[in-house]
């Protein structure tokens, strides 16, 4: 983990889970994520039409928007999924241009995507998968791989912290998991992989209120001064439990509005109709 001394003291405030938007930002500091005029097409159709987004270390941003607005496209493009053509603009992560970087390289550099639909990997135990992932990242960074004992120790600490039973570790990745279990498994992976930028893609979808609270609690535990988060959601309700520093409204491939946490409440009341009109 790249820990920069200035970020600790400066951003303690931000991590106080108050949702405070007012925050002094060191102008010289390297941005966690900077997206500049990003245009993305899928099969020739333009989905993102000039996105600008800037996230500082320690900040939590939320992107809200109607279905089909390009929210998931944005998360996939940041993570480097194939099948998206960047026709313009840049994605800069900690000062480094991500364009053309393989997904595993981005992961090794600290980008984590919590999936909307976590994927099943039959026959591969959760621990096996996570050990493979952690060690792949260690190898990428030229660090020693963890042996079984070191790894078990880390896993024990993380499951305890998040209140996840060890049973989940032995089961095949996401196979036969309930919706809530799958999302908790994503949070567990995030805790183990220790990313600097976590993107949560519709983490609230398909969860009942109890599961939602548990997942939100996990996310809040993982907030840290040197870790930024980008929450992508359709509904405001997740933001009752995870309080963002900034809220952006994404519609028709563009950020239509940016505001504080109160913007989410406004959307809850008025819906996204306003943004339909804005384009029409």
């Amino acid at each position: 983990m790249k820990r920069k001394s200035w970020s600790v003291s400066l951003l303690k405030e931000a991590s106080a889970r108050t949702g405070s938007v007012e925050k002094k930002v060191n102008k010289k500091a390297i941005k966690m994520l900077e997206i500049k005029n990003l245009h993305v097409s899928v099969d020739g159709a333009e989905i993102l039409k000039g996105i600008d987004l800037s996230i500082d270390p320690g900040e939590m941003h939320a992107i809200m928007g109607p279905n089909g607005s390009g929210k998931s496209t944005l998360s996939h493009v940041i993570a480097g999924r194939d099948g998206y053509e960047i026709t313009g603009g840049r994605i800069i992560f900690q000062g480094e241009d991500l364009t053309g970087m393989e997904p595993e390289e981005r992961a090794a550099k600290g980008i984590f995507l919590a999936f909307q639909y976590p994927v099943e990997i039959p026959g591969v135990a959760n621990t096996t998968f996570l050990k493979e992932a952690v060690n792949a990242i260690h190898r990428f960074k030229g660090e020693d791989e963890l042996d079984a004992m070191q790894f078990v120790k880390i896993m024990r600490a993380k499951t305890k912290e998040l209140g996840i039973s060890d049973d989940m570790l032995k089961r095949a990745v996401n196979v036969g998991f309930s919706g809530g279990e799958k999302k908790r498994n994503e949070i567990l992976q995030m805790a183990v992989l220790n990313p600097t930028l976590a993107i949560l893609d519709e983490t609230d979808s398909g969860l009942d209120i109890d599961a939602l609270k548990i997942v939100a609690e996990g996310v809040n535990k993982l907030r840290a001064p040197d870790r930024s988060m980008l929450i992508i959601t359709h509904y405001q309700r997740l933001l009752d439990y995870i309080v963002p520093d900034k809220v952006h409204v994404l519609a028709h491939g563009r950020i239509q509005r940016t505001g504080g946490k109160e913007l989410a409440l406004e959307l809850e009341e008025n819906g996204y109709a306003e943004f339909d009109e804005a384009v029409a």
Binding site: D82, G83, A107, V119, G123, V124, L130, V134
Partner: protein, 485 residues
């Protein structure tokens, strides 16, 4: 869609096998004259100082072979084999008198096996595993013989067994796979050169894993080994074979026969890790692996379990089977078959239920990549006397890319109303979602494919003896990856 094409291309790149066992050992060999006739058969028999009865048996097989045609029912294609273009006997010089003590084995040979990861010096090899090393047509070394003899276990080349315990060989040879069985097995009966012999006396649990490592080295030479394993009453043995060959442009024939006999309450566990040279990515060269393996559960409560990991060979034609004669006997078949590039495999099993309350289980995992084609072909037969017999079959296929094929051909014949036969089958692919998910967690594409495939094969890999499970897991990865990792 763009993404699909890209993933497929990517996986295909990974799928290009790098065969690390393709080297040739430069060693002087003694060979029989090229071609196949009665003199070849006599030459081999004379080389081995065989008793008259065996020469007669070989000749009967050879004469019968001349009348036979190749089995045509399998879904594999290859040009007609020119049997006169091969050598049927090749032995490293100086191995005439059979394997000597390890100190006397040609250092070149020891080096070869070391390079293959099979050091033959006992102190260096995995503790608890005895190895018989067969190089072309002869056994060059057998380890841990003395330790095994202490408990009465006989583990030696079959040529040596003919001197040591001719009665046992005579009693059982050809009783499970008769010399008339099929063209490949009949050829083997005529010209088999070496192979392992195992006898476990009554009540003995073999104290270590037994293993034979087959290596084809010489050019234009076929390998025809014959393995015979007898587990006497209430005994147990676990046996593993591995095999590799140099990379050559020609096709080489490997036609082996394995016979297993389990008497009352005995159990034989037979595992294979087959990694013969598969040919290059265009299908040039590679081994024709035409093998007949069959086990007879002759005794009550006996059990035979086959586990195979088939990753090599240009063509695999192989159906390790169980004849469940004894009441309550159990047959199992666990298989992983990986075909890549232009490899072809037609493999499966036959479970012949003759006795009462006999049970069998078939778990087959087929992985096809590149332009490869593979078929699971299985027979479950419940005879009229098989009261209460049961079978469960599960065949899963995994496809990588869109130019490969997987076919499942299960034959079920039930002549007993009380018998129960179950069959399940699935076909799946490695999805883009799976690959992206794993890569997003930092796992590079190659390793991601290996992880998914290993997960797919898990049930079978678990059946392998522990010492080999890790190796097999790696091999599964390597067969589909571009690197050793």
């Amino acid at each position: 869609m763009v993404a699909t094409t890209k993933t497929v291309e990517q996986v295909q790149e990974l799928a290009d096998d790098k065969y690390k066992y393709g080297f040739v050992t430069d060693i002087e060999s003694e060979t029989a004259p090229k071609g196949l006739n009665e003199d070849t058969v006599r030459f081999i028999s004379a080389k081995k100082n065989e008793p008259e009865w065996l020469l007669e048996w070989r000749l009967k097989a050879f004469r019968h072979w001349l009348t036979m045609s190749e089995p045509k029912w399998s879904k594999v294609t290859f040009p007609p084999i020119d049997y006169q273009a091969s050598y049927y006997y090749s032995a490293p010089k100086g191995t005439d008198d059979g394997p000597k003590s390890l100190d006397e084995v040609d250092p070149e040979l020891l080096k070869t096996y070391e390079k293959l990861g099979i050091p033959l010096k006992e102190q260096e090899f995995l503790s608890g595993v005895a190895v018989d090393a067969v190089f072309d047509s002869v056994s060059v070394a057998t380890t841990f013989k003395v330790k095994l003899e202490e408990v009465g276990v006989i583990f030696c080349p079959i040529s040596e067994a003919l001197e040591k315990c001719p009665d046992l060989v005579k009693k059982y040879l050809g009783t499970v796979v008769p010399y008339t069985d099929n063209k490949h097995a009949t050829l083997n009966s005529a010209v088999f050169t070496d192979g392992s012999f195992v006898y476990i006396p009554p009540g003995v649990r073999c104290p270590m894993e037994l293993s034979t490592y087959f290596r084809i080295n010489a050019k234009e030479t076929g390998q025809f080994e014959r393995t015979l394993i007898i587990a006497d009453k209430d005994s147990y043995v676990s046996y593993l074979e591995g095999c590799t060959a140099p990379m050559r442009d020609e096709n080489q024939l490997h036609a082996a026969v394995v016979e297993l006999i389990a008497l009352d309450d005995a159990e034989i566990k037979y595992s294979t890790v087959q990694n013969w040279y598969p040919g290059d990515e265009n299908g040039k060269g590679g081994i024709y692996n035409f093998v007949t393996k069959r086990g007879a559960c002759r005794g009550r409560n006996s059990k035979i379990s086959w586990t195979q990991v088939e990753t090599g060979s240009a063509i695999t034609w192989k159906y390790p089977s169980c004849i469940l004669q004894g009441d309550n006997s159990v047959g199992e078949f666990y298989s992983i078959a990986i075909t890549n590039n232009c490899q072809q495999a037609d493999t499966g099993t036959k479970m012949i239920h003759l006795g009462r309350n006999t049970t069998s289980k078939i778990i087959s995992k087929g992985i096809s990549a590149g332009r490869a084609n593979q078929t699971y072909r299985g027979l479950v037969k419940m005879s009229p006397k098989a009261e209460g017999a049961r079978n469960f079959t599960q065949c899963d296929s995994l496809l990588i890319g869109d130019q490969c094929g997987a076919h499942t051909v299960p034959y079920i014949e039930s002549k007993n109303k009380t018998a129960i036969v179950e069959h399940e089958a699935t076909t799946s692919t490695i999805s883009e979602d799976q690959l992206f998910y794993l890569r997003q967690r930092g796992i590079p594409a190659e390793a991601a494919v290996a992880l998914v495939v290993n997960g797919f094969c898990r049930e079978v890999l678990q059946q392998l003896p522990m010492e080999f499970a890790v190796e097999a897991q790696k091999l599964v990865g390597i067969s589909l990856e571009g690197s050793v990792g």
